[in-house]
């Protein structure tokens, strides 16, 4: 499959004059447009039998590109050529009608996807078996749960034996067992040498299946490469630009301020994103405005959602921090092994008087942020090293 210099622009009229009356009443008012450059000069070669992922944030043009490849949208410029038969669908359940029963819907969907009626009828049993919905075939679709609906749709869709498959966001659904089945089906398709173009937000499945991936942003190709690299770039794009927006102003009542806060990697470099393999240090700098004995330096690490992961204090295990004079600057560093799951984390540094630690001298909420990226994502907050042992009892 070859895509050369493809561009697609949507014209978004500022005010939609879609009736003749409005046009007749305002004959002189020109319709003004915003031009939305959904896809800009994308050039791409996808080899036969390749599993190719396209990732990007919402509105990055990835779905539009897929629709152009599928031939649903015409392109403004450039050329697309596809060798082999292209599956005509990019989303699940095309043509599903809630008022008809599952049996009719499967047949309609299959014909929509390119089977003839006869073929659709012949494959019907396979579809039903795959979807595990034998006893619900005469139920109207409006009474289906969303999970059942997706199972039925996916089961029908994989019956289209096209050489090139275009898939838009399908794996985020269904229960675990069915998802596993879908994954197996993807591996089967891959083994059979189908060319698959796969659009997703889910870096995990992109890294798992794809041979290569492409990152898009605002219609442009940011990078094409192996899925791991792209996954990292995607996370940085997603969270990285937010990392610098941290509030700079320090909140304190004594004049003692927290001047700065940041994250460092193992090598002591300031980072806004860090890989899971790398160590992580939480750092902040305090400027003292008064003389203090044994102040307590502390950091709180929270997730994006506000869950506290770690609270670390300088007085742990009875360690003393020493005395500080007014005008002194001190940098505190808290090193932790990076067992965090890929996401964005926020650092809240604080300084308190000796004792309870209740009365903060200075505290800045969410002063710095870091994005952890990597491919290990078990679903928990932490990716602790686990030693698994199985013993027969």
């Amino acid at each position: 499959m070859s895509i050369q210099d493809v561009s697609k622009t949507f014209r978004l009229p500022h005010q939609q004059y879609s009736t003749l009356k409005e046009r007749a009443l305002h004959p002189l008012r020109r319709t003004t447009y915003d031009e939305l450059h959904a896809v800009n000069n994308v050039t791409l070669e996808i080899a036969d039998g390749e599993f190719f992922g396209i990732v990007g944030r919402n509105g990055s043009g990835k779905s539009t590109l897929l629709k152009c490849i599928a031939g649903i949208y015409g392109v403004d410029s450039g050329r697309i050529s596809v060798a082999g038969r292209l599956s005509p669908f990019i989303e699940l359940g095309v043509g599903f009608n809630p008022d008809l029963n599952a049996r009719d819907n499967v047949i309609i969907n299959a014909i929509m996807l390119g089977l003839t009626r006869k073929q659709a009828l012949r494959r019907f049993d396979d579809v039903v078996a795959f979807a595990e919905l034998e006893e619900f075939m005469d139920l109207r679709l409006k009474n289906y749960s969303s999970g059942m609906l997706v199972r039925l749709a996916f089961a029908t869709s994989i019956q289209v034996e096209a050489e090139v498959l275009l898939i838009d966001e399908v794996l985020a659904v269904g229960d675990a067992a069915f998802q596993q089945k879908c994954f197996e089906e993807f591996f089967r398709l891959k083994r059979e040498g189908r060319t698959i173009v796969f659009v997703s937000h889910d870096m995990y499945s992109v890294e798992r299946f794809c041979d290569r991936a492409m990152l898009m942003d605002h219609g442009d190709v940011v990078q094409i490469g192996d899925p791991r690299t792209i996954g990292r770039a995607y996370h940085e794009l997603n969270f990285g630009q937010l990392a610098h927006d941290a509030p700079a102003e320090s909140h304190s009542d004594s004049g003692t301020t927290i001047a700065d806060a940041w994250f460092e990697n193992e090598r002591g470099e300031r980072v806004s994103s860090v890989s899971q393999e790398d160590g992580l240090r939480m750092c902040f700098e305090v400027r003292f405005a008064e003389e203090l004995d044994e102040p307590v330096f502390a950091v709180t690490l929270r997730t994006d959602l506000g869950h506290t992961i770690i609270v670390a204090r300088s007085d742990q295990h009875g360690r003393s921090s020493g005395s500080f004079k007014a005008g002194e600057s001190v940098v505190a560093k808290f090193a932790i092994p990076n067992w965090l799951t890929p996401s964005r984390y926020l650092l809240t540094p604080s300084l308190a008087r000796a004792g309870t630690g209740e009365s903060a001298l200075a505290l800045v909420e969410d002063m710095a942020s870091v994005v952890v990226h990597g491919s290990v994502s078990s679903g928990g907050i932490l990716e602790l090293p686990v030693d698994v042992k199985l013993e027969r009892a």
Partner: protein, 295 residues
């Protein structure tokens, strides 16, 4: 998974066209037909789902309408029936033929917009959508015509060879209805006021076609020096209905050609049929690549 049947060719890339993208046609005749048929069939299932008498309504509705009109025109107003032989049969037959035109065209108007979820997500020949409406209505027409024939036979008309003209007339009717349907459905994507406009136009055509009356009854009336009968028969629907009357009911009735005053003049309504179809097809084909974006 066991191998069942050959892999299908869902789409041959339209390399020959040079343009890559959605189109009105393309994708092979077989797929075109099977999609059209499937959509018409789905429409059929949906239409009668949940109604007790189901399909019967399609037959009963025009019959009830016919009953009302017959009562009004023969009993209340005393128009026509005495002078026009087989007036009830004529009325029924012309209602059924016109109903096809009206259902197809007004059903087509919003058909593309109503199928948005398909248009935005699958590539298939776009023309399938308005044509499936025409096909669905055609099925209704055939069923209705059975009732018409029962009526005609019951009224004492003998079967005759000229009945074979009916398929030709139906073909003309389907052609113009589908042509107008294609045009309207593509226009509606851009201009939403097509719907009310078309309702009015369809109403005008209803009274402007010889349905409640025959062309003979208005022969002596003129508009701008042209006989009403001529105007009515220039209208392809009028020509089809007039010819159907002669073919089905009464061989002594004037043919469409005779009403127009010559065989050559018959080319006018025929030309309109062909032109409407060509215009509809051309415009639809022209708009097809943009339909999924403009919805």
């Amino acid at each position: 998974m066991p191998d069942v049947g050959l892999p299908v060719p869902p789409h041959s890339p339209p390399a020959s066209h040079g343009v890559y993208g959605p189109s009105a046609l393309g994708g092979g005749l077989h797929r075109f037909w099977s999609l059209t048929f499937m959509l018409a069939r789905t429409e059929f299932k949906l239409r009668f789902f949940g109604s007790v008498f189901g399909y019967l309504w399609t037959l009963v509705r025009p019959l009830l309408f016919f009953g009302v009109l017959l009562f009004v025109f023969t009993t209340v107003l005393h128009v026509g029936s005495k002078k026009v032989p087989h007036y009830p049969e004529y009325l029924l037959e012309s209602i059924i033929l016109f109903t096809y035109f009206q259902e197809t065209t007004s059903g087509s108007v919003a058909s593309l917009v109503g199928r948005e979820n398909l248009l935005r997500r699958v590539r298939f020949p776009r023309l399938v959508i308005p044509l499936s409406v025409a096909l669905f209505c055609f099925f209704n027409l055939c069923m209705n015509l059975i009732v018409v024939f029962i009526f005609i036979l019951a009224s004492g008309v003998e079967p005759r060879w000229s009945w074979l003209e009916l398929p030709v007339l139906m073909a003309l009717l389907v052609t113009i209805s589908a042509g107008v349907g294609m045009l309207l459905s593509a226009l509606y994507v851009r201009f939403r006021d097509i719907q009310p406009i078309w309702e009015v136009v369809a109403q005008l055509l209803w009274y402007g076609s010889p349905i409640l009356y025959t062309v003979q009854s208005v022969e002596d009336k003129h508009l701008l020096g042209i006989s009403f009968a001529h105007i009515l028969t220039i209208n392809p629907l009028g020509a089809i209905i007039t010819q159907a009357r002669k073919a089905l009911l009464q061989s002594s009735a004037p043919s469409a050609a005779a009403t127009l005053g010559g065989d050559v003049r018959l080319l006018i309504p025929l030309g309109i049929v062909a032109a409407m179809f060509a215009l509809g097809l051309w415009y639809f084909n022209h708009e097809a690549p943009l339909i999924s974006e403009k919805l």
